[in-house]
Symmetry: C2
Subunit: 331 residues, 2 copies
């Protein structure tokens, strides 16, 4: 789109992931629900970190992972999210810029520190996430450059950032700016428990026609629609947004658009190592496909290829050349 600077601008948590291996017994002893994300405060973060194993740190954050993927695919992306003026904040800032993503949100003071997500990866490759929001929760409307929203084809928002109040207001404001400028708004439901916490808001946004492109996995879709099956959830969501993308892990994905359903299989993966970032990278592939004018099925396949890459190694950002992978698979 020639009148836009960016294909996608995303607003999300600016997080550094701390990834460590753990076994089921450890999750149980800590009272953690495998595969979910929970919010923790500074004291809980310190306690859990003390008890968990040796880790590796990589930049993360759901929407940030998505724009990292978009940039890796050759798309033009911008990110808005708040870090603190500390070492982890420098790491986040460096990494997202090094990937070619525009990132200009001013850093907050040194306290609260940069957000971190303590991710425990079990042998079945599932990730259990414990997020200390830190500086992320102070992202304010004033931090959001409206010019960037207006000059981006798609505004992409993560449901996770609906938890803290200040960024929630900032995102509502960003939606208004994007809509007034005739831009598309994309939203990911993020997590089943997150949907539980904000079902009313999320439904109101969707039913109020505020969301053009909705991303959800099976669990989130059923939680939002309070149904017991993928079919029922899909039926409920049908037509509620211009495009609804529903991911189903190893069962593939389905898009609902213009009264039609487009379904693809998952891409094969030699070994699933760490599922962190699967949904984030799926969204990246789909958004770039759509921006490039690919068919819905091809766009879904691009999402599946990106998701397959990110689950084949530790960390939630692509580790190999996504453009090359797509070219090999789709020509």
């Amino acid at each position: 789109m020639s009148d836009t600077r960016f294909d996608v601008v995303a607003i999300g948590n600016a997080i550094v992931d701390v990834i460590a291996r753990a076994d089921d017994a450890f999750l149980e002893s800590e009272g953690l629900t495998k595969g979910s994300m929970r919010l923790i405060d500074a004291a809980e973060a310190t306690q859990l970190y003390d008890r968990m194993g040796s880790g590796q740190e990589t930049s993360g954050g759901s929407a940030a992972n998505t724009v990292a993927g978009i940039a890796a695919l050759g798309g033009k992306a911008s990110f808005i999210g708040r870090v603190a003026n500390d070492q982890l904040g420098q790491v986040f800032k460096h990494d997202i810029r090094a990937l070619g993503v525009s990132y200009e949100t001013p850093s907050g003071p040194i306290d609260p520190p940069t957000a971190r997500c303590l991710i425990l990866v079990t042998e079945d490759a599932q990730r259990t996430m414990n997020t200390f929001l830190g500086a992320s929760q102070n992202l304010a409307s004033a931090d959001i450059e409206e010019d960037i929203i207006r000059s981006s084809a798609i505004l992409y928002l993560e449901g996770y950032l609906w938890d803290p109040e200040v960024p929630r207001a900032a995102m509502r404001n960003a939606i208004d700016v994007a809509r007034a400028a005739g831009r598309k708004v994309a939203f990911t439901l993020s997590d089943g428990f997150c949907v539980d916490r904000h079902r009313g808001d999320f439904r109101a946004l969707i039913e109020g026609g505020q969301i053009d492109i909705l991303f959800a996995n099976e669990d989130e879709a059923m939680s939002l629609t309070q149904t017991d099956s993928f079919e029922d959830a899909a039926n409920w969501l049908e037509g509620k947004a211009e495009t609804v993308v529903l991911t189903r892990s190893e069962k593939g994905a389905t898009a609902l658009r213009g009264g039609e359903r487009f379904t693809i299989s998952a891409e094969p993966v030699d070994e699933v190592v760490d599922t962190t970032g699967a949904g984030d990278l799926f969204a990246a592939g789909v958004l770039v496909g759509m921006a490039q004018g690919k068919s819905m099925t091809e766009s879904l396949t691009m999402g599946a290829i990106c998701a397959a890459e990110v689950i084949s190694h530790y960390g939630a950002r692509p580790a190999t050349d996504l453009k090359e992978l797509i070219a090999q698979r789709l020509g």
Copy 2:
């Protein structure tokens, strides 16, 4: 050894590694010598970090990697090295303790910050290291608990820490304490350029009978002895320390002990991904083998198994169960 608390106490740089992929052209444009380690100051660290790609952070440091490996192998290990009171310092402290290594060195103030090593890994799996010593260079004699030295069977020192003056004096002091207590002193030459900088000191230590177990790779051994071949270097070193362990990457390793030579082949590796930490983990395997009273050949094989594991993935600390690998291979 029943009168000791630790099998090994190591003194080294307390470093967080920042690992990023790079191509040969980038190394060239930065004027870097592939496979080597160079010291950089804070300004150079900032500049290089700005230009390098998106990274992942893991705890590192040569001797620290060795004690991490020793603990992973079931050995009792302690580490002495200085971090700052900052986020990367917390990461280093957490990781080494989470691996079961005793680590009680008091943190320095917030400035200079915790040491970091910007590691550029090229497609040939070679690593090029750029080390900002930060807080590490302020490790002083007062930071070294002499009781720990006296109650450790082996004192292990890294040549890299010979660069900064204050820790050099601390290490000399630690050698005296260990020798007075009848403990063994092990030393790794670390890097060919490091040997160039300190050849006189290193030779004096070795020829003065201060070192019982010497670790060197082919390049370091030739640099130390100013010879042109592995054979000549080995002949020079023969008998200069009780045990001399010479590693030769894919050509295996040789130990010189009691007038005999013990040679092993390298262990097979499916794909060499990142050679960072190969020598460090080799030393871990050898030291644990020796502590367990294994034969010299078996001890070398344990080193080779540990080195093979660490070069099969990114990062310089073991990612799989070393004890299980050894058990599978050696029974």
